[in-house]
Every structure is written in structure tokens, then in C-alpha cells.
Subunit: 255 residues, 2 copies
């Protein structure tokens, strides 16, 4: 599962993605134009935003009727009650709140600000809109992988990435919210170090590590290059998913 | 500050590092043997472990006398009291504890398990030992950069990496604990999206993102390749340090 050399490259030439678009077809067309030929083992990191857009996860704020709980939380956090309503609908738990910040546990298990809902680079013909995370990003990744495998004939891995905040460190890093066809956790528990002592910290989150560097080449603010190609890993057959990277609730020491 | 293509490669052929070793010289020798020629803009990611070893940050556990507080915490967490004593000396705050786990705020501001103290791949002639983080990893990075610049004549960036745990996600990822000569935070606040709306999440932690992928090519368990070369960024002059990536205490919602 290890690559001694890894190459990350933004895939250029994708059009703006709209609801109903076939991402696999768009990616193949862009790759052909860029003269990029996929090989077995290539991993495609795809920004959550275009997956959500293709899946029609855009919500017009004017259509959202905030609940009393959302109105209260919006007052407390100085946010738009309609946006807060969407945050609450997408979450199982509000972990922290203060003016300008709502940290929730998304129903997918991901802890972060505003349930991953984004308003930048989101257009809607009829006014303000918000973009939700895909309903099931692991399933989205699996579908994308199946279609791309058919179109290209290659064994590819897929990561759907999103920018994540962290409680004690400044600046976001890319993380994996959906995966297919890659080993997301490199579990070396039970292995030994070079002196024969059992290793302690031994489970590496490969999916997040790959997503982090991929987001650097994507340049997330402009959304012009929301797909990155990662080359250097051997082809993998893995049934692991991004859901496997969520720490179980019972192990959460910071609830 | 953006690279559209990034290449990560492990630097092979480094010897086992011991206290007093000149890391810059070891890296140059290994690079020469591997026929690797550095170019302006190259970033070297160096595992914390070999920096700590070179700086003699190894402690023989038999020499550590645990305080009463360490003895109590060791009982509560089922750990070696001498190790816990070292954890407490290295930290400003114990955030969470349970059997097998002590989460602290390291005096450098880094929140994590066991104050970054590692016992795997640490040898000592006189019995069990532990390896502490460098005293000032940003200063270590700056020194390494200065010596490497002199030896190579190139404008290089340095990141000292360590594996980090996260409260809500399984598996460690590499992060930056020391930096020199790179922009660690890519601050795009005030910039606008493609529809003219002001961006919200706009500060990317480049240092952590680079460290994450670098650790993948290093293969951290064997320690055979504790240095990675990252190529693709233009040369940078930045006075930012890893310390700049620590979220201020006043913003810590999870104390």
C-alpha cells in the first residue's frame, strides 16, 4: 500500500458542474483534452463541491423555513436562521457554538463547522443558496469509480475531499469524506519496530493524507480545478470507506 | 504559493541518526548518493524523530524520578510513572485522560497524545528510553535550512513533521511541528469567489497538508526513510513558522 514516490496533479479543463451532470464523463473528457492517460492504481481526488452540485444538493435559502430551535441558535451565533436550519437538519449534535461559529457532528459522523455547508462558489438563479454534503459520499465515490472503471478500463481509486477545520490548529486541510477502491487506514498494529518493540501509533489515515496534498494542487478557492490525479500507489482492492475513519462515539473524549 | 503539480519522494540511504549528528550533512550525502539534485523551491520534510535524536532529546527512563502527580496520573491511566513524569514536564495542560490515553497541550501548543513522546524505534544502551520533541522545532528547521542552503546553494524550505492524532477521526496524519522558509498558512481572507461573494473558509494550512503526504512516502514505521523531498512549489521567502499554526487558547472551544 506504500508508494515511495507520489505525484499530485490538478486535472484542468473541467467545465462548471451543474445538477445532473455525469462527473465520470466530464472527468474523462477533461483528461483526454489534457492528454492525461490514467493507469492502474491512479487515485482521483474529487472536491465535494462538484459532487454535491452534480447530485443537486443545492438548496435555495428562500425555500427554507427555520424551526424555533434554529431561530434561537441563529440569534446566539449571529447567523442566518435559514442556514442554521439546514445545519441542524444535517447534524445529529451541536458540539460548540459562539457568535460566528457552530460546530456540529454531521449525520455522517464528521465533526466540523456548519455541517460542511458552503455558500461560496454556489450560484442559484433565484437568490441565495447553500450547498449540502452529498447524501452518502462513500456511495457517490463507489458510483464514480464504477463508471470511470467502465469508461477507462483502469483500476482507479476515488476520494471525495472536503476542507476541514481542526480545534487546535489554524488553517483548513483537505480530508476524505467519501472513498472507493483505496485502503483508507493503513493499519500496522501488531507490527514491530527495527528493535523488535511493538509499535504503538501505527494506524495511518491514508485517505486524509492523500486528500490533504490533493487540495493543495486543486486550489480550492477558484473551483477551476476541482479534481486532482494522484499517481504512485499500486492498484488496490479495498472495501474500506471514509466512514471507517470516523472515531466511534464511545472513544470521543471531547464531547 | 501554489503548485499545480507536486512530487513527493522519499530520500533513501540515510544512516541511523545519533545524538550530535549533523543532519544537513547526512541529507546532502544521501542525496548525492541517490543522484538527487536539489533545486530552488524544494521542500524537505524531515521526521521529528531524527531531529530529536540528532539533538540528543533521548531520555533514559531509569534516570527519571516521577513526582507524586505523575504517580497518580500513571495509576489512573495505567502507564509507566516515569513516562508520565516526562509527559507532564513537557506539557502545560492535561486535557483528557483515561486508561491508556493522556491528551495534553505540549508546551509548544500542540495538542495530542503523550506530548509527542515516542518509545518506538528508540534505542539506548542502558535500557528503556523515550524520545522528546525538539526543544524548539522552528529553530531546528531554521538551522537545518541555513546549513543546507550553504551546502547546496539552493533556496530550500524545511518542515519537521510528526504524526498527529485527532479527536474525531481514526488514524494519524503527518503534521508540521517546525517550519522554515515556507508559507505555512495560505491566507486568502478577503478574496472573492467566482461569483464575487467573499470567501469564508480561506486559510489553508499548507505546512500540515504537505507534511501529511510526505509521511506517506516516508513510511514512518521503519524509520529507514525519514526525509521526503517535495518538489513543485516556487521558492518562497516567508518568516512564518509552525508556531503560527497553533490556534490561540482564547479560540479553543474544546478545553
Amino acid at each position: 500500500m506504500q508508494g515511495n514516490r507520489l505525484h499530485f496533479e490538478a486535472l484542468t479543463g473541467l467545465p462548471m458542474v451543474r445538477a445532473g451532470d455525469d462527473l465520470a464523463a466530464l472527468i474523462c473528457t477533461a483528461a483526454e483534452r489534457a492528454d492525461t492517460r490514467f493507469v492502474d492504481g491512479d487515485i482521483l481526488v474529487v472536491a465535494q463541491k462538484i459532487v454535491s452540485k452534480a447530485e443537486g444538493r443545492i438548496v435555495k435559502l428562500a425555500d427554507v423555513i427555520p424551526s424555533p430551535a434554529a431561530v434561537d441558535l441563529a440569534r446566539e451565533t449571529e447567523k442566518d436562521p435559514r442556514l442554521v436550519e439546514l445545519v441542524l437538519r444535517e447534524s445529529t449534535d451541536v458540539l460548540r457554538k459562539k457568535p460566528g461559529v457552530i460546530i456540529v457532528r454531521h449525520r455522517l459522523g464528521i465533526v466540523g463547522a456548519q455541517a460542511g455547508i458552503d455558500q461560496s462558489n454556489v450560484e442559484h438563479d433565484e437568490g441565495e443558496a447553500a450547498l449540502l454534503l452529498p447524501l452518502d459520499p462513500d456511495a457517490s465515490a463507489a458510483r464514480l469509480r464504477a463508471t470511470l472503471s467502465k469508461l477507462t478500463g483502469k483500476k482507479l481509486g476515488i476520494i471525495i475531499s472536503d476542507s476541514m477545520n481542526r480545534p487546535w490548529r489554524l488553517g483548513t486541510i483537505g480530508g476524505a469524506i467519501g472513498c472507493a477502491g483505496i485502503g483508507v487506514l493503513d493499519d500496522r498494529r501488531g507490527q514491530h519496530d527495527i528493535y523488535g518493540r511493538e509499535l504503538k501509533v501505527t494506524m495511518i489515515n491514508r485517505a486524509d493524507s492523500i486528500a490533504a496534498a490533493a487540495v493543495l494542487v486543486m486550489g480550492e478557492t477558484t473551483e477551476r480545478t476541482p479534481v486532482a490525479l494522484v499517481r504512485g500507489f499500486p492498484p488496490e482492492e479495498s472495501a474500506q470507506s471514509a466512514r471507517d475513519t470516523i472515531r466511534p462515539l464511545a472513544e470521543d473524549l471531547f464531547r
